[in-house]
Amino acid sequence: MSLTHDSPLNIEQIERNFCEIAPALTEAEAIFESNRCLYCYDAPCTRACPTHIDVPSFIKKIASGNLTGSARVIFDANPIGATCARVCPVDVLCEGACVEKTLMAKPIEIGRLQRYATDAVMSRGRNVFKVGAGNDKTIGIVGSGPAGLSCATYLARLGYAVTIYERKSLPGGLDTYGMAEYKMSQVVSVEEAKMVERLGVEFKLNTKIGHDISFDQLQEKHDAVFLGVGLGATTRLNIPGEDLPGVYDALDFIERIKTREWLDVPIARTVAVIGAGNTAIDVVTQARRLGAERVLMIYRRTEREMSAYKYEYELAKQDAVEFWWLTAPVEILADEKNRAAALRCVRMEFGEPDSTGRRSVQSVPNSEIDIPCEMVIKALGQKKMRELLGGISGVELDAVGCVVVNEHTMQTGNEKFFAGGDCVNGGREAVDAAQTGKLAAQGIHRFLFGEQVELAGARLPFVEKIAGELPAAAPAAYDGPATPAVDLGVKSYGGPER
């Protein structure tokens, strides 16, 4: 069942609330910003980017008016460069590393410049790469998220016949179904998938592997298989009332928003969101934008332990979200119509640190409190794909359920199977998934042809160590009495003992 639309806002206002948080740069801004770049050699931004895009190179190309070349530099290292331009947590990646930050207190807006260059070629429906000379090998890719699209792009460029199997009706994985709508709408990731299609990659949508086609069949049909299936549904709370109408899974809620069919998106006056990761932030900020009057973020620990990035947490604060720290849900209560009406919580307090140093929390006796709310959204993180992947012979899962791979080649215990993205790293960023797709393409090529290709940004560019030593620091000017020597009890190193 779906809740009736219960927002005090009209559609125009909601549209406005969901306009892009980081809009496109104008030409004048792009020229100014690109010229501001120092064009560092061995740039810290390139090191910080998980796909190692040659950032100064693409920015200088914007400055020289060579946008085609700029986009090529970006897509060469990151086939989902247009998505990443919008959704990457740049302050902890490239922009965080930008030395400009220390020079001018404001890093170069790398993400937005990346968008400027990629928009320029995508708006013209252009592909910047050609398909490689064909070989006789075929590869099956399960999942069309960042990992799958990235792997497919490189393999197509190397000349493989690639088929992507995707259970959903649109390609793109969480880029299409999960990104906060104010960061990016579906059009971008779908268009990016079209670039992959134009490289000759076949998309079999609405096709669930393990159901419509078995992994055995896949293995027989293809010379190698790449698993980029991501993670599963949101983890359950395991408390009474969890299946009441009015209780939602974060991913389902976001997926409804992504359609932009605002009248079909459930919303209520008071919404309680359980969890404090980046997904929980995406949920609270979007619930506010839909018109919820009170949005509560319920978390059993405190802001110090929350896994959301600072930038994301700030967004939630700006949206006047209420944070209920040290609060844990124990039951969801129903009204007379048997719909969610309140969240029963207990207060938590810290106990002794455990062996890992993390302090455990325990409930405070008799601290129950009922919070009236018509909607509860669970944002506790996603389950691993144990059932789906556990059955593939030879493919090994670790204790938490992540696929075990060789970190250089992304090959699993079954030599024909390679894997990457969230199903391997347990859930990180889109850009990390893109990088593993690239490494897997190299691994597959090596497995099938014995040849090691070097794809752009697969490794950090190698910079020679500077020979010699730094000159000894000049003594600091000091015109008072000589500083008395202090025996620190540490022997100075005088070379090997004779």
Binding site: E27, N35, S57, K61, S64, N66, G69
Partner: protein, 415 residues
């Protein structure tokens, strides 16, 4: 992808981008790295009798946030022994047979000295020689470099000497420190030069340290004039290149030098008649890697313009250069401001008010003050269009029909 290879006076290179004779071409290992980075050719740092350099050799002017708009140097020719250079040239050419390797030369004004060095270079397998008649400092005080390039008779004579001694193509590198570039160019051609290259650096003093009141670069409290190069000199170089490209007596290819840093700069030199280009300052600033975007940008430009080869654009703009007296006096343009784009910085207003013809007054529009062009007063000088920071905001619009062109020459011959 368009074909970027060029044939310059019989010297083939995979692209038109050469390194100019300067620090980036100081030795074999450097040139080899440059070729690996994508440079199509290189002119070896000028060989001659080894010299002793001074410390503190470079100084520059910055422009706003951008560094090294113009660079000035008082460095001399190579300070490495001749036999070491010759050995490395031989080795480099053997390793990179498809790249152009040209050797710049400067020796004292004696026939035997030029004969000897030309033959030694030919023996290494290098593709050509470039005669450095341009260095404007230091070497000129010893009767070499610009001292030779400034006297057409010497230019002709030494070119002949070198031609006597070698079958290699001989490029003469001209100095811009002359009143007209034509006489030395004609003299070089007369002496048998197979090609010309220009410009070498321009006489300059870059500035003065306001604290010490010693000009830059300071050599133990004293300074001497140096040679100016970098982005700031490009327009001067473009003018000289186009002047020679228009000159019928100059029937040899031209290598364009001066302020080239991007594919755009290079394309402009090619359009104005250069067959290839040489780069120094931009590489000293950013390293050999800049050639990647030069190649990429130029080839994307050629593709987008529908040219299959870079040769198709060489000299394409030369017929568009004429004398002032042949320009159309009836061509009439005025500035127009797009008020949807205007950010009201009012730079156009003040520029026209104080620097042109007082025809951009303010007008009240919906409660805001906007600059508006008085078209009846506008002389179409372009200044407001040049200072406006918003792309596409001020455009120069043509008003005449183009039906009755009239040049100053026609006008005065009628009278």
């Amino acid at each position: 992808m368009a074909d970027l290879s060029v044939n310059f006076a019989g010297i083939k290179s995979p692209n038109p981008f050469w390194l100019a004779s300067a620090p980036p071409t100081n030795m074999g290992s450097m040139i080899e790295r440059a070729f690996d980075a994508g440079w199509g050719g290189a002119v070896w740092k000028t060989l001659g009798e080894p010299i002793v350099n001074v410390c503190s050799r470079l100084a520059s002017v910055d422009n706003g946030t951008s560094r090294m708009m113009g660079l000035n140097n008082i460095e001399l020719i190579t300070d490495r022994p001749l036999d070491v250079n010759l050995k490395e040239i031989r080795e480099c050419k053997r390793k990179y047979p498809k790249h152009a390797l040209i050797i710049s030369l400067m020796v004292e004004s004696k026939r035997e000295a030029w004969h000897e060095i030309a033959m030694q270079v030919e023996d290494t397998g290098a593709d050509g020689v470039e005669l450095n008649f341009g260095c404007p400092h230091g070497m000129s005080e010893r009767g070499m470099g610009a001292a030779m390039g400034q006297v057409p008779e010497y230019t002709c004579m030494v070119t002949e000497w070198v031609k006597e001694a070698t079958r290699l193509p001989v490029i003469v590198k001209l100095t811009p420190n002359v009143t007209s570039i034509t006489p030395p160019a004609n003299a070089a051609v007369k002496g048998g030069a197979d090609a010309l290259s220009l410009i070498n650096t321009i006489n300059s003093i870059i500035g003065v340290d306001l604290d010490t009141m010693i000009p830059h670069p300071n050599v133990n409290g004293m300074a001497a004039h140096g040679g100016y190069c970098g982005p700031a000199v490009k327009p001067i170089a473009l003018n000289m290149v186009s002047e020679l490209a228009r000159n019928e007596n100059v029937n040899v290819p031209i290598s364009g030098i001066g302020g080239i840093g991007t594919w755009r700069d290079a394309a402009e030199f090619l359009l104005l008649g250069a067959t290839n280009v040489q780069v120094c300052t931009a590489v000293m600033h950013y390293g050999y890697r800049i050639v990647e975007d030069m190649i990429d940008g130029l080839s994307n430009y050629l593709d987008e313009k529908g040219f299959a080869s870079v040769n198709e654009i060489i000299g394409r703009s030369v017929p568009r250069v004429t004398d002032w007296g042949a320009l159309d006096l009836n061509y009439k343009t005025v500035a127009r401001i797009d008020h949807n784009k205007c950010i009201q910085c009012n730079l156009c207003h003040i520029a026209c008010e104080d620097g042109a013809h007082q025809c951009i007054p303010f007008t009240e529009l919906n409660g805001s003050r906007y600059p508006i062009v008085d078209e009846s007063e506008c002389v179409g000088c372009n200044l407001c269009h040049l200072v406006c920071p918003v792309p596409g905001c001020i455009s120069m619009v043509r008003l005449d029909s183009g039906n009755q062109p009239l040049t100053w020459r026609e006008l005065t011959s009628r009278q």
